[in-house]
């Protein structure tokens, strides 16, 4: 009880400091040449009190303090400690407190780490960021207070949804939020840069670190969400084009485009306005995503508890931010053409423009596919669903062309179009890719033209990136690694979808079924009692034609609070494929419904995303070298 009280009052004190810092900063804008030390102090205090507030909530969860409504709604005394802690941010109110904590942390870090940047720019960034912070403070305190009292105090909580009790899901929100909040700094920094007239090569060099950091966190955060979905939801799927997934993908696409733009801007003053637009768009998309998920306007398996009043707040907040950005952009952006009349485009700029062009297309497909049903329903009362078929049809053809550009683009000399030197090796690799794709599709028995094009182009990109590793210049290791990771990702996803197979059948204990070149034996079941659930474990043995056995033990769990039945798949991962087995009860029968899947190259999907992120991390350290 005390922890919650402290948490609540800390939050209010934090709000006080967040407002206090504004007049002090405005005064400091024009008076001295250095930042007033008071600003650092207040920013730190703001962070400290939000941190204490967050700590108060964590302690309330750990102590199962059910006088706190949030704890009551989302926790239970029998939950393991790890999930009591992670349950803090596994709900709407707690996750907002996490947002707030990361927001206040990042602005403090920004102030500390930007000592070499112009003072006015830093203060302006702080001011813009504070509008976001205050908005979140108000949002939490007025609509989503994690410290509401519940009287009389219940004895037991309602528990956390068992499918959320998973390690990947425990760290997925914090890492994802690190990405979103990073993009808020980029947003504030861009607006500040516009007002101060500071969007230049120096600014680009400085903001690049923040863009990289956000990008890395967002990439890994999305990957963790997919891994969780693979293990917990659905049948071995990892991406469903579900609205909440799309919502995390959109800022990521924007950030990727922005990352490429900033690479141009740090070398040459070009694409200035476009870079700023992307910076604004990235955070806007993150906020838009927050709105769509927390307001209940969309139907998704991921949505938090729905509450329209929250939706109205975020919507208004979002549009205030958008209008503010638009006005500032129009008032302060300089006309580029007048500045650089005589400059010409470098090859790199053109290839990055094309890269952005395609990424913006993919972004528009995802954005339109996600919000169109809302528009249609409001305007015509018609309700439609938009799912994987839509996204696949619109994305895949363009993905093929995009892969080709990625392969040959960076190596072409765009400006000298007439002297296209396509070296022999490019040509040979191209032929090899086509041959390989032909062989692969033949073995899969598929004659799909689209698949063959996709496979050839991804292999081509793969070979090109590998070839580049052996090139004489040691530049751009990070880019090569990330591009290699990307080609591997596309390839793994493709091969996985072509070669996955499954069988669904009903089995009793002791029965077996033959599937392709394996036999699945349902040997026995056992019962087990755990702290917060009881389970029935199925013992299965998969025997292949070489008499090697794999043992899989899927579980059926009955949780006690809330009473839910979940089915836990057992997955055996190996380098080349995953074996995936789930069993389900069939009502009123003594047999189980068993689903067995063979999913090749699954682990390569996760590894390739890690490789992509590693490229980003390398780029971070490269900067330290350059300094």
């Amino acid at each position: 009880m005390l922890a919650s009280q402290i948490g609540y009052y800390s939050l209010i004190i934090g709000l006080f400091f967040s407002i206090l810092i504004i007049p002090i900063s405005i005064i400091n804008l024009n008076n001295t040449k250095i930042i007033d030390i008071k600003i650092f102090h207040i920013s730190f205090l703001q962070l400290l009190f939000v941190f204490i507030s967050f700590g108060g909530l964590v302690i309330s969860f750990v102590n199962s303090d059910f006088s706190n409504e949030t704890v009551y709604s989302n926790s239970h005394t029998t939950k393991p400690l790890f999930y009591k802690i992670s349950g803090t941010w596994g709900n709407h109110e707690g996750s907002l407190l996490l947002w707030l904590m990361i927001l206040t942390l990042f602005i403090f870090l920004f102030l500390i780490k930007t000592k070499n940047q112009p003072k006015k720019y830093r203060i302006l960034t702080l001011l813009f960021q504070q509008t976001i912070i205050i908005g979140f403070f108000l949002f939490v305190l007025t609509t989503s207070n994690p410290f509401n009292y519940l009287l009389p105090i219940p004895n037991e909580g309602l528990g956390l949804n068992p499918i959320l009790q998973d390690p990947a899901l425990a760290i997925h929100p914090p890492i994802l939020y690190l990405g979103y909040v990073g993009s808020s700094i980029i947003f504030s920094g861009s607006l500040a840069g516009l007002v101060h007239g500071y969007i230049s090569r120096e600014w680009a060099k400085h903001i690049k670190a923040w863009i990289l950091a956000s990008w890395i966190f967002l990439t890994i955060g999305i990957m963790l969400g997919s891994i969780w979905a693979y293990y917990e939801l659905g049948w071995g799927g990892f991406w469903f084009w579900d609205p909440v997934e799309n919502i995390s993908l959109m800022p990521w696409l924007c950030l990727t485009a922005l990352l490429h733009c900033i690479l141009v801007l740090e070398k040459k003053e070009s694409l200035v306005s476009w870079t700023v637009i992307l910076s604004i768009a990235t955070f806007t998309l993150s906020m838009c995503g927050t709105f769509l998920v927390r307001s209940g306007i969309l139907n998704s398996i991921h949505t938090f508890a729905n509450d329209p009043s929250r939706g109205i707040f975020i919507l208004t907040f979002l549009f205030i931010l958008v209008i503010m950005s638009l006005v500032i952009f129009f008032l302060f952006s300089k006309d580029e053409n007048k500045k650089n009349k005589k400059t010409y485009f470098l090859s790199k700029e053109i290839s990055i423009l094309i890269n952005n062009w395609f990424i913006m297309y993919f972004l528009s497909v995802v954005l339109i596919g996600t919000v169109y049903p809302i528009f249609l329903e409001v305007l015509t009362d018609e309700k439609i669903s938009i799912g994987p078929p839509f996204f696949n049809k619109l994305i895949i053809p363009f993905l093929i062309i995009f892969l080709i550009f990625m392969s040959i683009g960076p190596n072409l000399h765009w400006v000298k179009f007439k002297a296209l030197k396509i070296k022999l090796e490019f040509f040979i690799l191209f032929i090899i890719s086509i041959l390989i794709s032909f062989l692969i599709l033949k073995s899969a028995g598929s004659k799909n033209l689209v698949n063959s094009l996709l496979i050839s182009t991804s292999f081509y990109l793969l070979f090109i990136t590998i070839k580049d590793f052996f090139a004489k210049d040691f530049f751009n290791y990070s880019q090569k690694l990330s591009h290699f990771g990307f080609s591997l990702l596309v390839l793994s996803i493709l091969l996985n979808s072509i070669f996955s197979s499954e069988v669904i059948t009903n089995l009793r204990v002791g029965e077996n079924i033959v599937f392709k070149n394996e036999i699945i034996y349902f040997d026995s079941t056992e019962k087990k009692d755990n702290i917060n659930y009881k389970s029935i474990i199925g013992n299965f043995r998969i025997e292949d034609n070489k008499k090697n056995s794999t043992y899989l033990k899927p579980e059926l769990r009955v949780y006690n609070q809330p009473v839910t039945i979940t089915s836990e798949a057992d997955i055996k991962t190996s380098l080349f494929s995953d074996k995936f087995l789930v069993m389900n009860l069939v009502k009123g029968n003594d047999y189980f419904n068993v689903r067995y899947q063979v999913k090749p190259f699954m682990i390569w999907i996760w590894l390739s995303v890690l490789i992509m992120s590693t490229g980003g991390i390398l780029s971070f350290y490269k900067r330290k070298y350059e300094k």
Binding site: F291, S295, G296, I297, N299, N306, P308, G311, I312, L315, F319, V322, I323, L326, V327, F330, I374, F375, E377, V378, L379, K383, K587, G588
Partner: protein
């Protein structure tokens, strides 16, 4: 000045989006389609609950001003709750109350109506759930009010309550 008109256009566009999203928040998220008003009841064949005989659509839906088709099961809690309203309805002689027993075990279903009373003039079974799908049902309990021409005049998703019972009574007057 081209910049200003562009700015105004963009602001208008965002204002439009704002209004749409605002309205979108207010519309209900639970999708109940044009509740099959005036649609013909789908023809189906099924087994009689008590005798186990195959019985045809025509044999059931005949000789009554109104029919009320109720989908239920012994394992469904809301069905238990709505049962007393069904008993009340069954007292009305101008309607034929027909039950469709959904994915149930015979013993349990018999116990259910044995304990709570049988309001139905006829019951059939939908063992695998496909008959309910043919009728466009979402789950159970679900109740259809059908007129003598076998057109669906009202579809109630979820359990009956006092208010819904009143609405139904008004229709079948």
């Amino acid at each position: 000045m081209k910049n200003k008109t562009l700015l105004i256009l963009i602001l208008l566009f965002f204002a439009f989006c704002f209004v749409v999203f605002l309205k979108g928040l207010k519309t209900s998220n639970i999708y109940i389609p044009e509740t099959t008003l005036n649609k013909d009841l789908a023809v189906f064949a099924s087994k009689d609950f008590f005798t186990g005989d195959q019985i045809s659509f025509d044999e059931i839906f005949v000789n009554s001003e109104f029919y009320i088709l109720n989908i239920w099961a012994s394992w469904c809690l809301p069905c238990k709750k709505e049962h007393k309203f069904l008993m009340q309805l069954s007292k009305n002689k101008s309607i034929k109350l027909i039950g469709l027993n959904y994915k149930d075990k015979r013993k349990n279903a018999q116990k259910f109506i044995g304990k709570l009373g049988n309001p139905y003039s006829a019951i059939f079974t939908d063992e695998d759930g496909t008959i309910s799908i043919k009728l466009g049902a979402y789950g159970i309990p679900e109740t259809y009010v059908i007129d003598k021409n076998r057109k669906i005049i009202k579809k109630i998703i979820g359990p009956l309550n006092k208010k819904l019972l009143k609405e139904v009574s008004l229709i079948i007057r």
